[in-house]
Symmetry: C2
Subunit: 164 residues, 2 copies
């Protein structure tokens, strides 16, 4: 992809509570793009509670062009028992379609990598749908597909039953 | 598997800093069992820093039989942007081979599920090697294999390069 980000006025920064409506709008934009809009149950109240509350389960970055938010990242720290260090987990990265092809995604990843190093993380991880063409891009960056691992998920109802 | 845990004196509790040598010993036991002992770089110092330090990247549970530690769990909270809630991520669960078949694994999972509910988690997740026979057991519990997702990992050196 061409990197034309030199020609645009890009700013990446950590999100604050004032960004909550923007984050929710961009989450919904992403979900429409992924044809998953019916699976979004997040809200301004939940974002406030879980990203900016007493216990912060995740953190957010905002990407702005000419001070207008056009992308976001949501991340948290995971942990590797064998490495003994935290890892940086990229939950979401989104750039509005009209701003793609400017290298903004790569700049967001670089910003994430710097945060990861500040926390002494030994790796960065994320999951990708197996048909997603971005896989090639990730592999060019040096990321490895951990094909031998399968993600298991115990959804809400089964979790409730297990907790009884 | 037969559940004979009624006949044993099982206690599950949250770990404290005094348990650090025990946790490290059990992590090494697990790594030998998985034939991955050369990949363990964790240490008492790193466990103290990351599990009991200023920022706790993960938490641990200890399973004891007759007050002797025979298993452990390491977990942390992840986050689902679409659900808007944290999730419970099971990084490690281990029971010493001589104590298996007593339903201790299931009791550990139940304990985890209760912690998950306290944190308003909407799901529990973990990864499994695709050849692991425990997959059937997990599916019987109601867990779903998220086959369409691939885990990507950017290892240490590539992360360093990205952060430059």
């Amino acid at each position: 992809m061409p990197n034309r980000s030199e020609g645009i006025n890009l700013n990446i920064r950590k999100a604050s509570p004032e960004d909550i409506p923007t984050i929710l709008r961009l989450i919904k934009e992403l979900s429409v793009f992924e044809k998953m809009e019916k699976e979004v149950f997040n809200s301004e109240e939940l974002l406030r509670e879980n990203l900016f509350g007493n216990k912060q389960y995740a953190e957010a970055l905002i990407a702005e062009v000419d001070r207008i938010p056009i992308g976001y990242v949501i991340y948290f720290f995971n942990y590797s028992t064998f490495l003994g260090h935290p890892g940086f987990y990229l939950e979401d990265m989104y750039v509005s379609p009209e701003y793609r092809g400017h290298g903004i995604g790569k700049k967001l990843l670089k910003y994430c990598a710097k945060i990861a190093k500040e926390h002494k993380c030994k790796r960065m991880e994320w999951i990708v749908l197996n048909w997603n063409p971005a896989r090639k891009f990730y592999e060019q960056l040096g990321a490895k597909a951990m094909d031998e691992w399968v993600l298991y998920r115990l959804p809400g109802e089964a979790l409730d039953k297990m907790a009884e």
